[in-house]
Symmetry: C2
Subunit: 165 residues, 2 copies
């Protein structure tokens, strides 16, 4: 009986720190992979991760997106979206337009070159990921996809301000 109690106590203590352990593991895993991805994006395409993220948001929106919406989706502040879009515009990958209806608004969309560049980047990028996760069982990948979604939802519901989505 004493032994069982000990086990229970230990389980409980361990259980208390599982969230922290999970977080640290997610963080180091993400850092490991994203350093590699960033390096390759830079070397092969001269792009950064935030730029890739931004372009992926625009890729499926043939009408483009307002900067405010882009800001929300990429979790980049309004002030910083401006610079991000500017750099992409300099490279000819993105254009900014002001619609007639509301002249406060700026809509960003991919140029033809931007769209083609992104398609190539995304394809290559997908190959990198498939390669890096080659040793992980496909069933586990599917499971992770669902369960990390749960973590995300939970986190979103417990932020100080419910700003995002």
């Amino acid at each position: 009986m004493a032994v069982d109690l000990e086990i229970i106590v230990n389980d409980t203590q361990d259980g208390k720190k599982q969230e922290l352990r999970l977080w640290l593991r997610m963080l180091s895993t993400t850092k490991l992979i994203s350093q590699e991805i960033r390096r390759r994006l830079r070397n092969e395409f001269g792009a950064t991760l935030p730029q890739f993220d931004l372009m992926s948001q625009l890729y499926r929106e043939s009408d483009g997106l307002r900067l405010g919406e882009l800001s929300r989706r990429t979790m980049v502040t309004n002030g910083n979206i401006t610079g991000l879009v500017e750099r992409l515009e300099l490279d000819g990958l993105v254009v900014r337009e002001t619609p007639d209806g509301d002249r406060r608004v700026t809509v960003a969309k991919l140029t033809k070159k931007g769209s083609e560049t992104f398609a190539t980047m995304a394809d290559t990028h997908e190959g990198w990921l498939r390669d890096m996760m080659a040793d992980v069982d496909p069933d586990i990948i599917r499971e992770l996809l669902v369960n990390i979604g749960r973590v995300k939802t939970s986190a979103r519901n417990h932020l100080s301000a419910g700003e995002i989505d």
Copy 2:
């Protein structure tokens, strides 16, 4: 038969992109949480995430760690570890010492103040994480812990150079 084939084809196609989808989900989840954590660390402790990470590595090593080892563990380049440690030294949280044996070496360790500060930070930090993951079943958290470990191992084994660990 045609229907079954269609299903198989779709499954295969979907399967091909699962790795990318998982990666994007991990990335956005990590970003969501780490923005919140960084904000709180800065507001409540005047610290950054890389600083927290570095201090956590030193916390359990009462003899301190060489900068090279710190660099490896935190995945921060040698050149940048110097600045990181310098800022912590300015705050009185860390000291640098050169052992007698090999005068090329620099060992960083937490000061008493650094150790106490970190203990408080880690405790608070743990509470934040427990709170953010409150809606996730403990069993799922344990499962994630294991499975993300698998992803990390796989990624590490498929990097260009096998530099790390």
